[in-house]
């Protein structure tokens, strides 16, 4: 159950706003990770795509996304089935009309959601690196931030039917996602999966008699620095979401931050030890992805789990990363940035972990305590897989019919920088006969 429209103290407002202002660091971190794990000949394109996609997503969310997401306690489209109300879509005004800068939570929630929608739209870029057209990636992000993200976010954070599973069907407190493991990360990660299916793998990735050709990232320093930035951004997102959506008190803020750091650390060390045991040396890119997977997984339960549970959630998320990467490679799913493994797999695990580890308080208008919480979380995961993934694929498949999303083979060989931008990120590396 999510908190409705209310007000915060001045201290609460200040802390919440500070947390919201940290979120762009998560975007910067993801952009650096995607750039570092991609090829040098596409580095400028990847960074520009990150900015462009974020800009498009924010505009699309402002135009229609918030209207459809809305928030608990405001007007919504509802139907009655089996004697229960099913709140399925927000009914706010388009273009953010009706949002005023008063002391209510609405304006702060709009700020938070603009950043969150931008962050969700950045995630698929990692899987489409080195072959996804700039214009098409912006169009795809408009679909994500203007429709798919607000729809699922309404169900979970806007007082929608997933949030009401507790009151309507006695399933714990309804689906809980304190920091966006499902609404931001899994939605973005499943969009990344849909995009890899539509785009296909990079040239030469699986073409040597079906064997895997390694295409290592061009700059591990960028990728790992991105991981450090992401910690600050994710913590900000977790704190602001917990306060605004679940009415978590300010005294829980240190616990949230500590849990994020513990989960990320446990995940990173788990991958370092696992890759060292399996390959003889730790793998830098997998370890960085493990760090992010820990952050993603603990997002759902940050304020509601003990630090020891956060360590366990993070470690399991980290351990899943290398195996999921190998599994996807066997299935010819080329995901250079690890977006599917980190955000979809980690996000789904995080949602399930709420049902296992969380000690939930009874929220305002909450449901049946903790009994059946795991079933509410499972319903959320099933909704992501059963509705969000097929819908995202269908929308992007239709977009691909009208606007080819992948560059032609020549463009891919030339590199996205030269092909789409006309100049590279590292001009001094250009080979010359002179």
């Amino acid at each position: 159950m999510t908190a409705g429209v209310g007000t915060l103290s001045e201290m609460g407002t200040a802390i919440c706003m500070l947390a919201i202002l940290l979120i762009p660091l998560a975007g910067a971190g993801l952009a650096l990770i995607n750039t570092g794990l991609g090829r040098s000949r596409s580095a400028a394109h990847t960074m520009l795509a990150a900015l462009s996609v974020m800009a498009t997503a924010v505009l699309a969310y402002g135009v229609c996304g918030f209207a459809w997401q809305s928030m608990a306690g405001r007007a919504a489209h509802t139907f009655v089935l089996a004697g229960q109300p099913w709140n399925w879509l927000g009914r706010d005004a388009f273009f953010l009309r009706g949002v005023t800068a008063d002391r209510s939570l609405v304006i702060m929630l709009v700020c938070l959601q603009l950043f969150s929608a931008g962050l969700a739209a950045l995630i698929p870029l990692g899987s489409g690196a080195d072959r996804w057209r700039l214009g098409a990636s912006c169009a795809s992000s408009a679909l994500l931030a203007g429709w798919t993200y607000p729809l699922f976010a309404h169900w979970v954070w806007g007082g929608g039917w997933l949030a009401q599973l507790g009151t309507n069907f006695g399933l714990g407190q309804g689906m809980i996602d304190a920091g966006g493991a499902g609404t931001v990360q899994a939605v973005g990660g499943l969009s990344a999966l849909a995009m890899t299916w539509i785009l296909g793998p990079r040239l030469g990735r699986y073409e040597h008699g079906g064997f895997l050709a390694a295409i290592p990232g061009h700059n591990a320093v960028l990728a790992l620095f991105g991981c450090m930035l992401a910690l600050a951004g994710w913590s900000g997102l977790g704190v602001a979401s917990a306060i605004l959506f679940y009415g978590v008190g300010l005294k829980a803020v240190p616990l949230i931050v500590a849990n994020y750091l513990l989960a990320a650390g446990a995940a990173l060390l788990a991958v370092v030890m696992l890759t060292r045991a399996r390959f003889g040396k730790p793998d830098a890119s997998l370890s960085g992805n493990g760090w992010i997977a820990g952050l993603v997984a603990v997002s759902a339960s940050g304020p509601f789990v003990a630090p020891a549970a956060a360590v366990l959630i993070g470690a399991i998320a980290g351990l899943m990363v290398p195996f999921a990467v190998e599994w996807l490679d066997r299935l010819s799913v080329d995901d250079p940035g690890g977006a599917i493994t980190v955000h979809a797999v980690g996000g789904i695990w995080g949602l399930l972990a709420v049902g296992i580890f969380a000690r939930l308080p009874r929220f305002q208008n909450g449901g049946a305590g903790s009994s059946g919480q795991w079933l509410a979380q499972l319903a959320g995961v099933a909704t992501l897989l059963g509705l969000i993934l097929p819908m995202t694929y269908l929308l992007n498949w239709l977009l691909d019919r009208f606007w080819k999303q992948r560059v032609p083979p020549d463009g891919e060989r030339q590199g996205m920088d030269l092909y789409e931008l006309g100049a590279g990120a590292y001009p001094e590396l250009t080979l010359s006969n002179e």
């Binding site: 089935l81 089996a82 229960q84 599973l165 069907f169 399933l171 299916w197 296909g200 793998p201 699986y206 073409e207 079906g210 299935l331 010819s332 799913v333 009994s371 059946g372 079933l375 499972l378 319903a379 995961v381 099933a382 909704t383 897989l385 059963g386 509705l387 993934l389 097929p390 694929y393």
Partner: protein, 59 residues
């Protein structure tokens, strides 16, 4: 085949939701919900297999 995979994903979700709405006992709800997720996993596997098949043909 991918379409069939997506239909199984949807069917699994419908099975889970039907269980939540129609069944009163927690045990039966849990059992049918898990069956729904199992159907979804089959659908996901089918969608991945179809991608693998299409990539093999392309090569």
């Amino acid at each position: 085949m991918r379409l069939l995979g997506f239909l199984l994903l949807l069917a699994g979700w419908l099975l889970l939701m039907s269980a939540l709405v129609l069944l009163p006992s927690p045990g039966a709800r849990g059992g049918f919900a898990c069956a729904g997720v199992a159907v979804q996993l089959l659908g996901l596997g089918l969608a991945f297999r179809s991608h693998l098949g299409m990539e093999g043909e392309r090569r």
